[in-house]
Amino acid sequence: MEPQSKLLKINKNEYLAQQKSKLENALEMGLTKDEYNLICEKIDKIPNITELGIFSAMFSEHCSYKSSKKWLKTLPTEASHVIQGPGENAGVIDIGENLAAVFKIESHNHPSFIEPYQGSATGVGGILRDVFTMGARPIALMNALRFGSPDQPLTKHLVSGVVKGIGGYGNCIGIPTVGGETNFDKSYNGNILVNAMAVGLAKKDRIFYSAATGAGNPVIYVGAKTGRDGIHGATMASAEFTENSTEKRPTVQVGDPFTGKLLLEACLELMNTDAVLSIQDMGAAGLTSSSVEMASKGSLGMNLNLDLVPTREDKMTSYEIMLSESQERMLMILKPGSEEKAKSIFDKWDLDFANIGEVTNTGRLILTKHGFEACNLPLEPLVEDAPEYDKPFEIKAIKKVLKPSDLKTNLTIIDILKIIFKNPNIASKKWIWEQYDSSVMGDTIFANGDSDASLVKIHGTEKKESFGKGLAITTDCTPRYVKSDPIIGGMQAVCEAARNIASSGAKPLAITNNLNFGNPDKKNVMGEIVGSIKGISEAASYLSTPIVSGNVSLYNETNGKSILPTPVIGMVGAIEEVENSLKISAEPDNVLIALGQSENFKAGWVGCSIYQEIINNKYNGAPPPINLENEKKVIEIILKLNEQKLLTAAHDISDGGLLTTVCEMLFKYNLGLDINLPSNLINCDSYDPLLQSWCFGEDQARIIIATKHIKKVKHILKENNIDFFVLGETNSSSNLNLKDITTISIHEIKNLNEKTIPSMMGDQQQG
């Protein structure tokens, strides 16, 4: 090889990128001293800057899951309907009729705080690529968002930017954003959460994987050109925030949904031929992680000529090319001889198509630039030797059970209900949802709170007498429960998700999870991670909803303050006939029945409830306990009742308790209800803590159903030993009466519900 001095004349920065690294370079890239020494030892040389950059990306928390791996391995991932569990671009489950649902959730928290529009837009773009890389056409988008306190001025800016960004990408690429959750808490003031989920549909026997095959096969780069945006994004996503984090704006990627759309169509068109052997999207750590993962999964090697990579800017170095996180790019291994045919498809869609190297059997990643070897690394240490830490942890849980009488108040039931619907965590998110195109593709049945889960029809499964199958999707987590008791909180997130799927009429099938936590080097944070994974595992295995994909986001803290632990559960379920799905809105002359609610009422669970926050301004009691047997029973019975077409609507009882849920069911048609009370509450007044705990307690495993077939339903419930409480029959009065105790105007509460978020966002007229 020619002397490196010649390289100095060609490109000075490339010359620098090929110089030997020092420990300080490693520290700057987020590696520890021990990790640097381990790298030098394993590769038997001192890495150059490019090689070190590749290691730092692969060893980042984002790519290696080094702090959480030990515990992630304990998650239940198998079931007869699982086609592909964690480890690929997305999870895949069998949904019958030779079809598979492909889905995953992923965080884009740090970039979205720094640059809300691009951060959230590329979060959506990235998760869509994960899904169509597997050969699936994306059919629905969901999200789980957490923002800081509504009265913090920055919150409005972040909500506005993130919502625009999510809509900006999803609306433009033409995939419906059908729902999600948005919550506010001061713990997210300096570190918002933006978790995006995508669900796609594929033929069961046409799933594409990432493992490279066949030495000598061509390695093809397709999609957008590589620029200098997002360099070292994976490393940024794995560090704590400080006040200077906005200086990292250049490490935020820029989204181009139109190119994303072209890439989606071109890839799916190519996948219809037999040309693609394996494929991987360039997400976090770009060309580095895609090439390393493809080659290592196939136990092979890869040679790439970086001069052939399409670039947007001049004189990009090997370091920049390997670590750029430019969006809308893919790496593929093609069947030899099919390059011409493949190229013609990408030409048609006006996308770059470059043959940049070949698969080898050397077990090494060898990169050349300007004729010089820019990188020569064994693949094994990059993947196998990524550290796995067993960090010390302590699972702290509040055990103190609060009694209703512990919460004394001078607020009436109406006062409390008004406060609940003025809380942006409960109030209608219509202002946000209207900015998402939820009906594009024409298959959306329920979006954005019409039902407990969002529901999309599966195009092409129509039968003579039916609209066909549907997929139900939800995202759920109640962080205050997780904070108070990580194990219960983890279980609750799974159970609520399953209840939501069942309340839409669909059968819960599988989970993708997004584990958002603070700094794992802190014992209590590590305890939150371990505890919630334990809880998720227990509930997911009991309910037979395995985890098939997921993402971990750690170091969500700012200046040492951690976010509330937020292990978001994204769940997918299926329904055979979409016309049999359930909305939340009751109709006139429906009887409302609370399932899982005993006639023999003792006390409602007030600890850690929204109600407790209103009365005490804090949460200091144990969260509601989870009884998995009851959860399963309520899910199974609702599916059974619905199969017999006995239900009009269903809505699970969660934040804000029974009365909040009843109100939400009455809103749409402005209905009224003379609500029955348990006999021991009839003589209470509106201030009575026991009555208030019945109204607002957050006991789990409860769903309210609306039916026109009260006799049959009662019979089935009794036959199956289900606790239930008949709440009464809806009427057209628009008044919710609690005996002689109080009368609630549904109009008034509905109005509050719809005005809360618009007025928070400074948009009074909306609604």
């Binding site: 139109f258 759309k261 209207e434 998402y436 007229q765």
Partner: protein, 214 residues
């Protein structure tokens, strides 16, 4: 839109690639919604300069019929096939929701002639730039020539946001001078069955097809 047309006609419509110059003689050309070229410039501005627009203009010149929906309407405006402009929604926010449209009294055209004047249709919108703007003289001309086809309409007297984008005089769709080209912001193909929340889109498109093809 393809699914909707297929449902009504029982035939799969021909798709035309944006780079094509030659198109066969067609009963109806539909320019559907979407984000052509990402709409990073003004919506429809780049698409209006696609090769296929020349052929569409020729089709119109031969007296052919064209329906532009959402981005299709924006393209027809940018291509100067229909007059006026579509600017950002008044609230500067993308809006996706159901709207109620009222069929206006207008010149003879194949899109509405089977429907009653004053008839209401519930059809959703989903757009960021649907605020139809026409200067006063153009507005006067459109009225005189009977070219205002669809308007957003209140269902209740006190309804504030019945017009989703702040368009001039609540205009949702306009016709060409000869009545053979209709541009509209709402998406009829998204109101095709009761699971969509209504079938007024089906009614509208079925009427179009019947009037045009017979």
């Amino acid at each position: 839109m393809i699914v909707a047309i297929r449902k009504i006609t029982g035939k799969t419509p021909i798709k035309i690639w944006h780079k094509e110059y030659d198109i066969p003689n067609l009963d109806l050309i539909v320019i559907p919604g979407g984000f052509t070229f990402g709409d990073y410039l003004r919506c429809g501005a780049l698409a209006a300069r696609s090769p296929v627009i020349t052929s569409i203009k020729n089709h119109i010149g031969r007296g052919g019929t064209v329906l532009g929906v959402c981005n299709g309407f924006q393209i027809l405006i940018e291509a100067k096939i229909l007059p006026g402009s579509l600017i950002r929604n008044k609230k500067l926010l993308f809006t996706c929701r159901e709207t109620t449209l009222e069929v206006q009294s207008c010149i003879e055209n194949p899109f509405l002639s089977g429907l009653k004047i004053g008839e209401c249709l519930k059809i959703p919108v989903a757009h960021n730039e649907g605020n139809y703007f026409a200067p006063e003289d153009l507005l006067k001309q459109l009225k005189e020539e009977g070219r205002i086809a669809l308007k957003y309409i209140k269902q209740k007297d006190n309804e504030e946001n019945y017009n989703p984008n702040g368009s001039t005089e609540d205009i949702a769709g306009i016709l060409s001078k000869n009545g053979k080209v209709l541009g509209m912001m709402p998406h009829p193909e998204r109101a095709m069955n009761y699971l969509h929340g209504g079938t007024d889109g089906l009614k509208f498109l079925t009427n179009c097809v019947e009037q045009i093809i017979g």
